[in-house]
């Protein structure tokens, strides 16, 4: 058995507003290094909610979450920010680039925050990733001047800058046309196969889900098939 990257034990989550409602029921599963997993289900089944819990951004839940075999219970906000910075790369449905910065700076920011390498090194690492994603020539452009597909590729480059343990995507192709969606999907596949990158992608695109290695399907806050 390869090493566990992420593990949940009996995760329950409630929404309190407007009425108390259970959105996640006893979610227990684990991801190993190199897994390419898609998380599917209908709208409102709780898959995004689960993803935010896994990303450590949402801390209001019952149960236990282990990232890199460390529990996130009884840790503070600063420690979790550090975990997100170092171990998790996030790709959102909408691009979410910082409009104030250039493409290169957007990719570099988490690397500079990690402060593990000097700035020149972070820059060359960022360029490497842009090259890999074939958007090398956009590096000096402002983030706002890019097309949707380009933005999403920049976001992927940013997610990869710190060599994260796991890359999470929240419908990363949901807002893209078919062609760009295919490009992004191919990138994920390439990352998984060539670099053994662990990926957890939320999607309701069945074609997308089918071509991943493992599908976790959810309904009404429960995992119905894995």
């Amino acid at each position: 058995m390869s090493e566990l990257v992420l593990q949940t034990k009996q995760v329950n989550k409630y929404f309190h507003d407007p009425v108390k409602m259970q959105v996640l029921k006893d979610i227990s599963f684990s991801l190993s290094r190199g897994d390419f997993v898609s998380l599917t289900g209908r709208s409102g089944c709780g898959k995004s909610t689960l993803l935010y819990i896994l990303s450590t951004m949402d801390t209001e839940f019952e149960g236990e979450l282990l990232i890199d075999q460390h529990s996130t219970r009884n840790t503070n906000e600063k420690y979790l920010a550090q975990v997100r910075n170092e171990k998790i790369g996030f790709v959102f449905q909408f691009h979410y680039l910082l409009a104030e910065f250039t493409v290169l700076e957007n990719v570099m920011l988490p690397g500079l925050k990690l402060n593990k390498y000097p700035e020149a090194e972070v820059e060359s690492r960022a360029m490497e990733r842009l090259k890999m994603l074939d958007i090398y020539d956009l590096a000096t452009k402002k983030a706002t001047r890019l097309s949707g597909g380009e933005k999403q590729r920049v976001a992927i480059a940013r997610a990869l800058i710190n060599d994260p343990l796991i890359v999470m995507g929240d419908e990363p192709t949901g807002n893209l046309d078919k062609k760009n969606g295919q490009i992004v999907f191919d990138l994920f596949k390439k990352m998984s196969e060539e670099f053994k990158q662990t990926l957890l992608i939320v999607t309701h695109d069945l074609a997308f889900a089918k071509s991943t290695h493992r599908i976790i399907e959810m309904e009404d806050g429960k995992i119905i098939s894995d």
Partner: protein, 419 residues
């Protein structure tokens, strides 16, 4: 913590909305400018008004007062020593107006390290003769050089030089009001009658204009020698000794000490002119209150603009948090934006405040009562600049504190979900 990165993000965020940032900074600049100009002008006026009296008032004045003797004869009789004696209708003892041993007293005071300078003075009551009318007035005998150095005497002499009373024998500087009553011009000879009935002729060498009408109507100045001659006294006759100290706050203590040491009456400036201090204090208080109000208003401007910036940048804050920036980092970014608005606006404000002060200083301000003042007075004290700058930092920091805290508490999940 990677402060360089925090600074970089703060700069990028403020430059992204540079117009808003500029408006906020201009708000600070405006209030600091007004703060500096207002305080400089107000204090300049304060100094001028205080100077009207305080510059010309000795810090300690030694003289012989007319009063009843504390040691009445009955107290020396042994039979009456045990009880308290009630004595009615006490009259003041006859005392000479002259200060005894004036020369050694002057010498001793001059050697005191706390003393800036000492000037002797003679007050002589006379009648000025204008045809058939006698006008009561006072001739004050002074040493013009010492008086200039210590009490800015020459500032108030118009149509003539203060030194003329030394160089011209039997000369007098008349109060402006008095001169008008006597219809005397510079170069004219006037006559005065002493209380003893002697008539003296004196040459008018200048006019004296203090700005205090009452004083100008009765006061006139002559040299010590001339005054002694008018009174028919010797050259060691002095009725008052005026002392100027290096530190005005020591005046009450020094006055007490001298009174005991020289067996004379001593009055300190604080007792003689307490109302001026109150006036200055209230004026300063008002100008500080107005200045600080301006800064607080500017602070609300910064608060608003930062709040707006945070609403606009919710996405950016969420993404920063999602990629590993903690709440503290985000907090620092916005505090830094607020402080840089405060610092840049503040420094420019100090500069403009100085320029505005210089501008006010150039505006003509001619008033009959103040012959030496040609433009509006301005005080350039470094303290106003320090206080203004410190306060601009303080208000912008306070204005940034709450928006920054709000930004640091942004929940990225809510923002990202909301899309």
């Amino acid at each position: 913590m990677n402060y360089k990165l925090i600074v970089r993000i703060a700069v990028a965020l403020s430059l992204a909305r540079w117009k808003q940032t500029l408006v906020a900074a201009v708000g600070v600049t405006f209030s600091i400018t007004m703060f500096i100009a207002l305080l400089g002008f107000m204090n300049g006026l304060n100094d001028l008004l205080d100077g009207l009296i305080l510059n010309r008032t000795p810090h300690v004045r030694l003289f012989n007062d007319i009063k009843a003797n504390m040691q009445q004869p009955i107290n020396n009789i042994s039979e009456f020593k045990t009880g308290h004696n009630f004595i009615y209708s006490i009259k003041p003892t006859s005392r000479r107006e002259e200060i005894y041993n004036a020369a050694p007293i002057l010498k001793t005071i001059q050697q005191d390290a706390r003393v800036l300078g000492v000037a002797s003075k003679i007050a002589a009551q006379v009648f000025f003769n204008a045809g058939t009318i006698n006008i009561t007035g006072v001739i004050t005998g002074i040493d013009a050089d010492v008086e200039n150095r210590l009490f800015h005497f020459s500032d108030y002499v118009v149509n003539g030089k203060s030194q003329d009373i030394i160089t011209t024998a039997n000369s007098i500087i008349l109060g402006k009001g008095l001169a008008e009553k006597l219809v005397a011009n510079v170069g004219d000879v006037i006559y005065v009658t002493t209380p003893q009935g002697e008539i003296f002729s004196l040459k008018v060498v200048g006019f004296f204009q203090s700005g205090l009408q009452e004083l100008d109507n009765t006061q006139s100045y002559a040299s010590l020698g001339t005054t002694q001659k008018i009174l028919g006294k010797g050259n060691n006759y002095i009725t008052a000794i005026q002392v100027k100290l290096k530190n005005i706050n020591l005046a009450p203590a020094v006055a007490k000490e001298y009174a005991k040491l020289f067996q004379v009456d001593a009055e300190d400036i604080q007792t003689a002119n307490s109302q001026f201090e109150t006036g200055s204090f209230v004026r300063t208080l008002i100008s500080y209150a107005v200045g600080i109000t301006l800064l607080i208003v500017a602070g609300f401007g910064i608060y608003n603009i930062l709040n707006m910036m945070i609403y606009e940048k919710m996405d950016s804050i969420a993404i920063l948090k999602a990629t590993g920036f903690s709440g503290v980092d985000v907090n620092h970014i916005f505090i830094l934006i607020a402080l840089s608005i405060g610092v840049s606006g503040g420094i420019v404000g100090l500069l403009f405040g100085f320029l505005l002060s210089v501008g006010i200083d150039q505006i003509p301000f001619n008033t009959a009562s103040l012959p030496t003042v040609k433009t509006y007075p301005v005080n350039y004290s470094i303290y106003f600049y320090l206080i203004g700058f410190a306060f601009s930092l303080f208000t912008t920091f306070m204005a940034g504190l709450f928006p920054a805290r709000k930004a640091s508490r942004v929940d990225p999940v809510i923002i990202i979900r909301g899309k």
